[in-house]
Symmetry: C2
Subunit: 272 residues, 2 copies
């Protein structure tokens, strides 16, 4: 896998832990980048770099989210989390280094300077304090808030926490080609919401062996989720509508976007 | 201060904590950027953005270093550290968001695309898993190592942990102007080493009220430092030689570099 190759030069136990953190996973975000790039006939080399960069950001976010003072998870992708296998300090540093690595990859891509900068700006915004990190902060604040979140608040939280990087992933190919990213942005918006609803359903119904992570966490924490607010059946039906919406947004690409449509259907049928 | 202005849009307690983390400090790295930019007649706007970016990176590194699982410090710049004033999760997220913010600033500078990318690549390398983060990992590993570090190992650790970002700071102006960064790189190399030796001396001799942070930490931890390995007098004399070396490297800039020479002298005479 390309990301693993790009991580090969990092030395010591920090390097080992960086590679460990990037091992496995669904690689949904990398898939979105590669499919978006294929739709726009982007050359392989920059497409692979962009895919590796988003997976590095995603892996960093998981390592930090799993820390004891955050979600306190000891299982991820079926294996001990980084702070369990090494220690908390290593978990913090691995995440920090993976974020830097993502920007190093984007800055060094074989792509016009303007488009590299566009990807870097987009990534910094989507990952930062008005994107993924804000979503994570809102999520943690919700756990101790007096009133449970409303559906609108959860939608906003999700748009920040996972939506922004889904959009970056799906539109990166269009950005790399200088094409209109709007259809893929709509696709990503609907897909991200469907993904989060499916995640909430999996937390209720999932099996730890299949998901590779702890389940029933939100239920135990008494957290407001799409499922707790809408009920299981309505959540399932909303996810299905969103998948249809995501597929419809791909109309401009015709049959070429069939892989992306299948990915949308997979997102709500997955068991892990 | 420019960095504070660029942080204004971040919302909620995450935004508050990001601004808090960037308040105060010596701003030595920003000073290096601004002086290097002045020597090369770089326009004010990109110089200020680059200075803000390096201070954002530095602030992120301090917030993470201060966490309980890292250096476990509750005082920084004379105020409670972020995880004390808020909580550990906020400390982790603030650091993460400040790193993204630094790259957002560099990507959006008023500067040619090629030079922006050069600054971004350099920052990602200097801050990441083969730069600052590696230095921090080596530093933590040294605490539990069986044998204390040798002088060469400490020099290498320091070159990674603080040297790489000192060099980025001092050379950013030359990079922004497309000029030769070599003299400023030599200056930064000697300055960074002098700075670390001075830090080790301050840990032994400093006053908590003046340094604004906990002292005698390394002594209590039985950690190998420049002082423990060389003795106080030899360390002081090495720092003085390095300051002379740093000043000599500035010869190509003549009297224009007087501020940078004064900064080098300040580094080893400072009380905090």
């Amino acid at each position: 896998m390309h990301l693993a190759q790009t991580l090969a030069p990092y030395e010591g136990s920090l390097g080992d832990a960086m590679r460990y953190a990037c091992h496995g996973g669904k690689r949904l975000r990398a898939f979105l980048v590669l499919e978006g790039a294929r739709l726009h006939a982007v050359p392989t080399a920059p497409a692979l770099d962009a895919a590796a960069a988003i997976e590095a950001i995603h892996a960093y976010s998981l390592v930090h989210d799993d820390l004891p003072s955050m979600d306190d998870d000891d299982l991820r992708r079926g294996l001990p989390t980084v702070h369990v296998k090494w220690d908390e300090a290593t978990g913090i540093l691995v995440g920090d280094a993976l974020q830097s690595h993502a920007f190093a990859l984007l800055a060094g891509m074989e792509l016009s300077e303007a488009r590299r900068l566009s990807l870097i700006s987009g990534m910094a915004q989507a990952a930062g304090g008005d994107g993924m990190v804000l979503g994570q902060a809102l999520d943690i604040a919700a756990e101790t808030a007096e009133a449970p979140l409303t559906l609108d608040q959860i939608k906003r939280l999700q748009a920040k926490k996972t939506g922004a990087l889904f959009e970056w992933s799906a539109t990166a190919g269009a950005v790399m080609a200088g094409a209109d990213p709007a259809p893929l942005a709509s696709y990503a918006h609907a897909l991200g919401l469907a993904f989060q609803i499916a995640d909430d359903i999996l937390d209720v119904e999932g099996d730890e062996a299949q998901t590779g992570k702890r389940v029933q966490k939100d239920v135990e924490a008494g957290k407001a989720t799409f499922v707790s607010l809408m009920g299981l059946e309505a959540a399932r039906s909303a996810a299905q509508s969103l998948v249809k919406e995501a597929c419809d947004a791909l109309r401009p690409y015709g049959a070429d976007a069939e892989n992306l449509r299948q990915a949308a259907r997979f997102v709500i049928s997955r068991q892990g």
